[in-house]
């Protein structure tokens, strides 16, 4: 079981991710945008952060950049949930400090496989 933070402004996406991970036995927190995710991250020691790229208030890429400045989040896996059309976004996310990405659309099995990949 891992502590995971799911960040997406879309309630359906976030809900699907959280539901799938909780069913797999993880402890999942949710945040609606990058800013709220940062606040949540400061309060909890997450083992993994999954974040959408396009969000209001603070987007996923800025969030990763901010998160990597926190000593507690150096080395913590952060995955970007991105759409295929934005290959440049993957690289932008990587440059900001993301560990990797999961391309939308993904189904619950793909999500679990990827999470397993980073959590070992």
């Amino acid at each position: 079981m891992a502590k995971i933070l799911a960040v997406d402004d879309s309630a359906s996406m976030r809900g699907m991710v959280a539901f799938t991970l909780r069913n797999a036995g993880h402890d999942v927190s949710e945040a609606e945008n990058g800013q709220l995710a940062l606040d949540a991250a400061k309060g909890g020691n997450f083992d993994l952060v999954l974040a959408d790229v396009n969000m209001p208030v603070m987007d996923g890429i800025s969030m990763v950049r901010e998160l990597r400045t926190l000593p507690a989040y150096k080395g913590v896996p952060i995955l970007m949930l991105t759409t295929e059309s934005h290959t440049d976004k993957k690289m932008e996310g990587k440059a900001a400090g993301a560990t990797g990405w999961l391309v939308k659309p993904f189904d619950p099995e793909q999500l679990l496989a990827t999470v397993k990949r980073v959590l070992g």
């Binding site: 996406m13 209001p56 759409t83 560990t99 659309p105």
Partner: protein, 657 residues
């Protein structure tokens, strides 16, 4: 994940996407009015979310369609393309098309239609290219070998990015037999070793029939964070094409459909946390009151304790009332969701008719019951169409009448008493008395307009089959008239009235109950029965002398009320009650209004005003004419709620028979 699990989020996705489309539409309209660039980002985000979600939740056609719009928006967002009226228009139509797709998705129908296909081409053309014929198939890295040599040397910073070399090597284990040799050559002296950095490298021999793509897939996140070489030892000439995956099982398609239908029907309400917290708070107080009252189970009731008991009961009453209000509040939503569709509609219609219209929305935060809200849209659409089509004049005519070129259409919502009042007003030409009278005579509704008050003439437009437009336009002339508007509103327990001044404009006033679940009513006694008369339809109650009511030929009765003769409906006759008062001077005449006409309801007497929780008679028994539902009185007996409009119709039929 279970099907029910996914379906649950599919429904959330549809709801949030419809909200997203509303946001796109209002932002596009604001952009049309010269709004700022931040709007483009908002629109882009909404489109992007719909695209991503549609693919995830099983609507690939919608996803690829939205992708076109998103690409166009991306060009605008990044400054590659200037936004103009044509693009806004195109995107507005895209929003409409997507709404249609969502409606079809909920009905379980095919998503694509000719409109969507046409728009796809238009969107592509707007970006100066043709429609992508098919998604470019990803180049298959079919390179396969029996043994590989992988040279993997992470950059020092790799660990900070959350990627762990050990994990990557473990992933390779799944592919075949591994032989891993660590490379220590770059390991610094212990004194200067930085433990958060990566200094090792590995040389890996992988044996087994593995594709290159599978190996590079393991390293795809770290390509830019390491030196990597993947070399085949023995290349296999050709790879047999992998068989196409078997068609997805369709066995439980029926179950899926049932699921979909169920979710389409059980619509949900979004409730703010504040409302829920308030509710929890109240329940907490109720529990405290209950435990306080519980102490009265034991011991004698002396005067001092009686005072405390009374206080407790008063508290219980207060909390119950507050709880009721809060629970009702959960179903209450701001009327903004209905108002918001009008800016677009008014823009489209006024452009079509060559009129200049300014729309003013007032009281958008006024809340009313979700059910009422859902059903008030259509009547309002009709009133707004009418106002632009028939009420407001063209700029020339307005100038001739000494008014400004631009007409004003106002939608105003407010709470008044226990009701919500929605006014649709315009500063147009107002009702044309002569035209209405002429039309009504032509239609055989009246024989002459002489002596009719302006009010009575205005009422004529609510008569079935009435239309004053010389040419039936495609806007208002859709086969529904004001009679339908009035019937729809009266089905919601509300009323529509009109106030018009020739040359100055008209005001349509819709009065609606706050909720359909509870009505304010007067309890009337008829024999041993009790009936609830909805307060909203009561005009006045009067005690009459026996000779004030006159019988007319055909068996009806009439009485004079404020210069008007009103028909009498004796409730004991309508519902065949025994032991009721028959003499006019011993009972009470309640003047009520329903379906646009006033009648006198003759009852034994009125007992008092109360709030009645409406129970459906249809669901528990069957539909009964003249009755809209039932409620349970304080003594546990059942009282029927009188449907005034239904009674009036019943009376009309009986007279005609």
């Amino acid at each position: 994940m279970s099907k029910a699990g996914l379906a649950q989020f599919q429904q959330v996705f549809i709801e949030e996407s419809l909200e997203g489309l509303d946001t796109m539409e209002s932002s596009l309209l604001a952009l049309d009015q010269g709004g700022d660039g931040e709007l483009v980002h908002t629109i882009f985000r909404a489109a992007h979310s719909i695209k991503g979600g549609a693919a995830t939740f099983g609507f690939p056609e919608m996803s690829s369609f939205t992708h076109e719009a998103e690409s166009l928006l991306d060009e605008v967002r990044s400054g590659k393309r200037a936004i103009d009226a044509a693009i806004i228009e195109l995107l507005l139509r895209t929003v409409d098309c997507l709404r249609g797709m969502f409606a079809r998705a909920q009905a379980g129908e095919a998503l694509n239609d000719a409109v969507a296909e046409g728009l796809r081409s238009e969107l592509a053309a707007a970006m100066g290219r043709g429609v992508p014929v098919a998604a470019v198939q990803a180049r298959r890295d079919a390179d396969q070998a029996d043994a590989w040599t992988i040279h993997f040397r992470p950059h020092a910073s790799m660990l900070a990015g959350g990627n762990e070399p050990l994990r990557l090597i473990r992933e390779l284990v799944g592919l075949g037999k591994l032989q891993v040799t660590p490379l220590f050559d770059r390991l610094p002296a212990f004194g200067v070793l930085e433990p958060s950095e990566c200094h090792l490298g590995w040389s890996i021999e992988l044996t087994g029939p593995v594709k290159r793509a599978d190996i590079s897939g393991v390293f795809d996140w770290v390509e830019d964070e390491c030196d990597l070489s993947i070399e085949a030892k023995h290349v296999v000439a050709e790879v047999a094409a992998t068989p196409a995956p078997a068609a997805a099982p369709v066995a439980d398609a029926g179950a899926a459909r049932a699921q979909r239908e169920a979710s389409a029907e059980s619509s949900s309400v979004r409730v703010s946390i504040d409302k829920i917290d308030g509710l929890i708070n109240l329940v907490g107080e109720l529990v405290i009151t209950q435990s306080m009252l519980d102490t009265f189970r034991e011991g004698d009731l002396d005067a001092a304790r009686l005072a405390v008991l009374e206080q407790g009961l008063a508290q219980l009453a207060r909390h119950t009332r507050e709880l009721q209000e809060s629970v009702m509040g959960i179903r209450m939503l701001p009327i903004a969701s209905v108002f918001n569709r009008f800016p677009r509609m008014v823009r489209d219609i006024s452009q079509k008719l060559g009129k200049q219209v300014k729309l003013e929305l007032i009281g958008e935060s006024t809340e009313l019951d979700k059910t009422v809200l859902e059903k008030i849209g259509d009547p309002m659409v009709h009133l707004v169409r009418n106002a632009i089509d028939h009420g407001l004049e063209t700029p020339d005519k307005r100038r001739a009448a000494g008014k400004g070129d631009t007409g004003t259409l106002t939608l105003h919502a407010s709470h008044r008493g226990g009701n919500v009042v929605v006014e649709v007003s315009d500063d147009g030409a107002g009702l044309n008395r002569d035209a209405i009278v002429a039309k009504a005579i032509q239609r055989g509704i009246i024989s002459s307009g002489e002596g009719m008050s302006d009010e009575a003439v205005a009422e004529l437009i609510f008569q079935p089959g009435f239309s004053t437009a010389a040419v039936t336009t495609d806007l208002s002339g859709r086969g529904v008239g004001m009679d339908v508007v009035r019937r729809n509103v009266s089905d919601l327990g509300g009323t529509v009235t009109i106030r018009s001044t020739q040359g100055k404009g008209s005001v349509f006033t819709i009065t609606l109950p706050l909720t359909l679940a509870i009505i304010d009513g007067l309890t009337a006694a008829v024999g041993e029965e009790r009936y609830i008369v909805p307060l909203i339809s009561i005009v006045e109650s009067v005690q009459l002398k026996t000779d004030a009511v006159r019988s007319v030929a055909g068996g009806g009765e009439l009485f004079r009320f404020r210069g008007e003769y009103l028909p009498v409906i004796r409730l004991h006759e309508a519902f065949a009650c025994d032991h009721a008062v028959h003499a006019i001077d011993e009972g009470l005449m309640v003047v009520v209004e329903g379906d646009g006409s006033r009648v006198g309801l003759f009852v034994d007497g009125l007992i008092g005003q109360q709030q009645a929780v409406v129970k459906s008679l249809e669901a528990n028994y069957r539909r009964v004419q003249g009755v809209s539902g039932a409620t349970i009185l304080a003594d546990g007996s059942v009282a029927l709620i009188v449907d005034i409009a239904g009674l009036v119709r019943m009376q009309g039929r009986r007279k005609a028979a």
